[in-house]
Amino acid sequence: MTPLDNVADLRDTDLNDVELDRRLASTWATPKGVWGALSTVDHKIIGRRYIITAFVFLALGGILSLAMRLQLAQPEARFIGPDRYNQIFTMHGTNMMFLFAVPVMEAMAVYLVPLMVGTRNIAFPRLNAFSYWMYLAGGLLLWIAFAIDTGPDVGWFADVPLSGPQYAAGKRADIWAQMITFTEVSALAVAVELVVTVFKQRAPGMSLDQIPLFVWSMLVTSFLIIMAMPAIMIASTALILDRLVGTQFFNPAEGGDVLLWQHLFWFFGHPEVYIIFLPAVGMVSTIVATFTRRPVFGYLGMVMALIATGILAFGLWVHHMFVAGLPRLGESFFTASSMAIAIPAGLQIFCWLATIWAGRPVFKTPFLFVIGFMVIFVIGGMTGVMVASVPFDTQVHDTYFVVAHFHYVLVGGAVFPLLGAIYYWFPKITGRMMNETIGRWAFGLIFTGFNLTFFPMHILGLQGMPRRIYTYQPEMPWSGLNMFVSLSAVILAAGFLLFFIDAIRSALSGPVAPANPWCASTLEWATSSPPPAYNFSRMPVVGSLEPLVDNSGALPVASGLFVDRRELVVTSVVGALPEARESSPGDSIWPLWSALATTVLLIWSIFTPWAVVWGSVPLAIALTGWFWPKGTKEDDA
């Protein structure tokens, strides 16, 4: 026992580095064992889980797409029947949008944002744990339902009346709608945490004009989530009520409105595209800055473009409804706004190009994925401007042209930056490097395979091949290209397989990574790889956009925090001036119990409305347990 153990309220000012790390570790570390794993609130552990789960869903969704390509490879194929095919394309879209794309972006933010702003844990860490369990439960609900042949078969946007009580028999559409509730609850929870983390927990001195661009993009994304997701929760709840208790939200004969669904869904659904894309923009900015050895050109312009995209995102949902029979003037307005969003997107592209032009690019794997992103996303953006025009959209609506367009935008705009980001931050997260050679091969296969798979779909669409058909007749002129697309999909799948193999192999036995393998400039590289449970031994103080470059070696730090309890610094919104020491909640099992109680309530309510009444009892008990004071030191503050 050292003499310091007797000192009440020990602060980090009193300790040397070794002693400080030892004490911080005992305060912040997650206990070993199942119980510790279930009750942890460490944003890095939860973020890692989130990322792995999302990639498992990516692999599952990819398997479904291969099954569809196998079925479509030749006319009149007998591999999948029509009913199963309906389930498969619905599962593919729903899974990729709700269980992969949005959660994986939030997962990256859950892991990285607290590190990038230099704090010790995310705001509301128990809510963070709760959001992961909700997400996992929602994913399991959807996939277990699919495994037992009750998968939703109404398309990923579940238009009424086809998803309504009259046409969607059984519980399939209810499972879709309730899965929405799960993922939206988790997404909203993470969005709130991120906003508070970015606004109130930045390192002292990190004023708003000095936050990394990835953090800016996640901040804008979080606001998009907070404003867009309630629309879909209202819509899916109204759908369940229509189906279960006989409300008439979408029944025009009783005063409801069919188009209400499409408006509510796409008021969420279009911002959803930017909820997926904006984090990717942040990742691209980060990677470009690191691999060109200079800050991104036009920081202010980039931030303004992010915000402009975020605002415009809410003004163009109607372009998904051009064939729904809306007034002409409205359609013209939304054509204009849809084309207008190409302006901020183009501005960002030119800023990146200027950065590369002015910098000294190093073509490592993460940067290759960024180059791939730019090529593919620009093509997707151009077909986007094409389908923004009403006459053209009327022609290609519900054809493979649209399938090609949104895969170019979503895979090009989000998955390529994400894979680059995985290669980039993998050493930080696992402490090991991924393999550069395999990475280049994976990039080459994915880039080639992607273009060969999806570019011909433009042509198929112009030839009139509709979406969502489970087979086609030999007389149609589509069979040659479809076979080509299916073969190319194998190349794409091989690239992803290589990526997964590389990731697993490197996580187990890759070369050990230093703290800052890429000579990057942002705060997450100032701590060890992987970071300790408390992130930083002493709270960093930031005075510039690139703290690790401008301070060559020694980062100024703040001190004065308690080490015997979880504590972090709260700073002001604009200038990040230190305001207070704030305690951060410790591990708790109650978020898990609360998530389980919510899961029971939500799944039960697919079958009877009484579930909302009786299911709220265990939920109330779990929440009471969650918020009951436990008498820990963190409760004192």
Partner: protein, 199 residues
């Protein structure tokens, strides 16, 4: 020690995942698939039900039981039956189920009994006093689907599978309400004089 526990945790997680997968696979294999194109021999067998000589009651084909009575227990078939009810103009005589020129279904009074084969025979072969035969207008599978739906309108006991409401004016309680027997205090006693002609 720590290593042993991690290994135990991994084993626990793996076996839980394995159990989940196997369980789902088993359930999926047990459930009856939604048949958009029923097997032709099974379809042909649907015509081979046996009716009592008075035209009331009888026995469905054996294959119907082997398939777990799909036209009574499967929400998809029931909802198909509901669409056929509209498409083939049943409402012209039977209204929204409350009856008009033809008898009501909703009140739970069955002139020829509530068994599936009776209803199927009524639709296929017609009945006296105005019920036409639909033998040449619908496939035998459609007739079974429609019969299953008509049966749920006046069902005596609650079912797990039910159709939802239509996107139209709501003129009567929906099919997934409590069963018809709850509408009657005493239950059916003799022939209801309001039911139109007796058999």
């Amino acid at each position: 020690m720590v290593r042993g526990r991690t290994l135990a945790n991994r084993l626990l997680l793996t076996s839980a995942l394995l159990a989940l997968t196997v369980g789902c696979g088993f359930l999926g294999w047990m459930r009856q698939p939604r048949e958009l194109r029923t097997n032709p021999p099974v379809l042909a067998d649907l015509s081979r039900f046996r009716l009592m000589s008075n035209g009331i009651g009888g026995a469905p084909p054996e294959s119907y039981f082997a398939e777990a009575e799909p036209y009574e227990n499967d929400a998809y078939n029931l909802s198909q039956g509901k669409r056929l009810y509209t498409w083939f103009g049943c409402a012209a005589c039977h209204g929204d189920g409350r009856g008009a020129a033809g008898p009501s279904f909703l009140d739970g009074w069955w002139l020829y009994g509530p068994e599936m084969v009776s209803i199927v025979a009524s639709i296929r072969d017609g009945r006296p006093h105005g019920m036409p035969a639909f033998r040449d207008r619908m496939t035998i599978e459609q007739i079974w689907q429609l019969a299953g739906y008509v049966q749920t309108i006046g069902a005596y006991s609650a079912k797990v599978a039910a159709t939802g409401r239509n996107d139209g004016p709501q003129t009567r309680p929906s099919e997934n309400r409590a069963p018809a027997v709850m509408l009657f205090e005493e239950g059916p006693v003799g022939v209801n004089p309001d039911q139109g002609p007796s058999p």
